[in-house]
């Protein structure tokens, strides 16, 4: 039991949690600002295919309501990123984002593109995510403890489990529903041929050996991703691998999983170390300069 507790509730610095808040809220603000929600508001009721809580609505919400919701969501996400009234703005941004993404996924198919981002934000809704690097912390002169604390570690670990789990379960679903044939058959070739006229898709699909290799690589990446939870250095392999994977899918099939790729980078990068290195690099020439 203590091992599980230590795994789920590790210690981390307030700055590392704050960096994840800033990164995820910035990605969320970008996605919400560019989403197709207002256009979907005009959808005729006959084409509406609600799932989950969207079944409570008889049709897409009216356009003025959607525009108001989108504006509120973007504003709240930006405020949460800078850490102003974070206890209020972060849940507000998340709640609006859930409704707006609920619209996108009520068109006839479960849309996964932003789900990892939304689920990684869940632990931050109740975590002290603005104890550092925030306007709230400046405003209240609240000082985060100088040593890592479990209060800041658990949201990071929960988000990391969500990212790793999303890849793992996607790989597991392929094995459960298709078995080894997902790799050994021409499955990926047909998926690429069916996806459109991208030169990359056709290039891969025309070469069976390449399609098989990429299918195997996809399963290895997805099923192996949880390794990063137990061997942190494995993130150096799996996170760039996931970014390349999503970039390839975008080019070949036109599917935009940039929010998921960005979420993986935000969650697994050690931002305080990155920021510290950048600051040290900036101050080094000044220190070594003339005078």
């Amino acid at each position: 039991m203590r091992r599980v507790e230590r795994f789920l509730f590790p210690a981390a610095s307030a700055e590392r949690l704050a960096a994840v808040r800033i990164g995820l809220c910035a990605v969320l603000a970008g996605r919400l600002a560019t989403g197709p929600y207002a256009e979907l508001a005009d959808q005729p009721r006959e084409l509406y295919r609600p799932i989950s809580f969207m079944e409570l609505l008889p049709s897409m919400p009216p356009r003025p309501a959607v525009v108001a919701l989108q504006t509120t969501a973007v504003l709240a996400a930006v405020l949460a990123a800078v850490g102003l009234r974070t206890r209020l703005t972060l849940p507000a941004a998340w709640a609006c984002a859930i409704v707006l993404n609920g619209m996108v996924t009520s068109t006839g198919k479960v849309v996964h593109n932003d789900l990892v981002l939304l689920l990684c934000l869940v632990p931050l809704l109740v975590a002290p995510a603005a104890d550092a690097w925030s306007l709230d912390a400046r405003r209240t002169s609240r000082r985060a403890p100088g040593v890592p604390s479990r209060l800041y570690g658990w949201p990071l670990r929960t988000a990391a489990i969500v990212v790793a789990g999303a890849y793992f379960f996607a790989g597991l679903a392929k094995l459960v529903h298709s078995g080894p044939a997902w790799v050994t058959s021409d499955n990926l070739r047909w998926a690429l041929y069916a996806s459109g006229d991208s030169e990359l898709a056709i290039f891969i699909a025309d070469r069976p050996w390449l399609a098989h290799a990429l299918a195997a690589g996809t399963l290895l990446l997805e099923l192996g991703f949880p390794l990063v939870l137990f061997v942190p250095r494995a993130a150096w392999l799996f996170v760039p691998g996931a970014v390349l994977f999503h970039a390839g899918i975008w080019i070949a099939m036109g599917l935009d999983y940039s929010a998921q790729a960005a979420t993986a980078v935000v969650v697994f990068a050690n931002w305080p170390v990155v920021v510290g290195a950048l600051l040290a690099r900036r101050s080094a020439p000044a220190a070594a300069g003339p005078g």
Binding site: L40, R150, W190
Partner: protein
């Protein structure tokens, strides 16, 4: 014997409050259960992404708009976003009651009227085709189109043609 830990170190090693621990347990249990069992409780999901095996044989749908003697394919990608879910709606179209099928068909006719005000009818076809055609192998038989439904603004649907 007094602990060597300072007060700050001791507090930083404390577990989060019971409520937080319960929240984490419930959230992760639900996340893992949906992933393992393939449940769709959006925003929790079974992560079924390209998990079904693809084959050479594909079933797609196309819709055409009829204006006088002309019949032209509707380019849904060029219509407003609200109408672009035609292939997604068609996945479950066969299971809809006839009245709902007609209502959906008429919604597409309304969209088509924006581009072609003289349009009088929309026809929906099921298309069976083979992906192997795309690499020049020509393994499968040629694509076939089967009329599923036709609708106009006033009359009842005609699926018998």
């Amino acid at each position: 014997m007094p602990s060597a830990m300072t007060e700050i170190e001791r507090r930083s090693d404390e577990l989060p409050p019971r409520g937080v621990r319960a929240f984490v347990a419930v959230f992760l249990s639900a996340f893992v259960a949906c992933g393992l069992l393939g449940l769709e409780l959006w925003p929790l999901t079974g992560w079924r992404l390209f998990s079904e095996l693809r084959t050479d044989h594909q079933v797609t749908w196309r819709a055409t708009v009829v204006a006088g003697e002309e019949e032209a394919q509707i380019a849904f990608a060029e219509l407003p976003r609200a109408y672009r879910n035609f292939p997604l709606v068609m996945r479950t179209f066969a299971g809809l009651p006839p009245a709902e099928q007609t209502a959906a068909c008429r919604a597409w006719l309304d969209a088509a009227l924006r581009e072609r005000p003289q349009a009088t009818e929309v026809r929906i076809y099921r298309v069976d085709w083979y992906l192997s055609h795309r690499n020049g192998a020509r393994d499968g038989p040629p694509p076939t189109s089967t009329l599923l439904l036709a609708c106009d603004r006033e009359e009842a649907p005609d699926a018998t043609r």
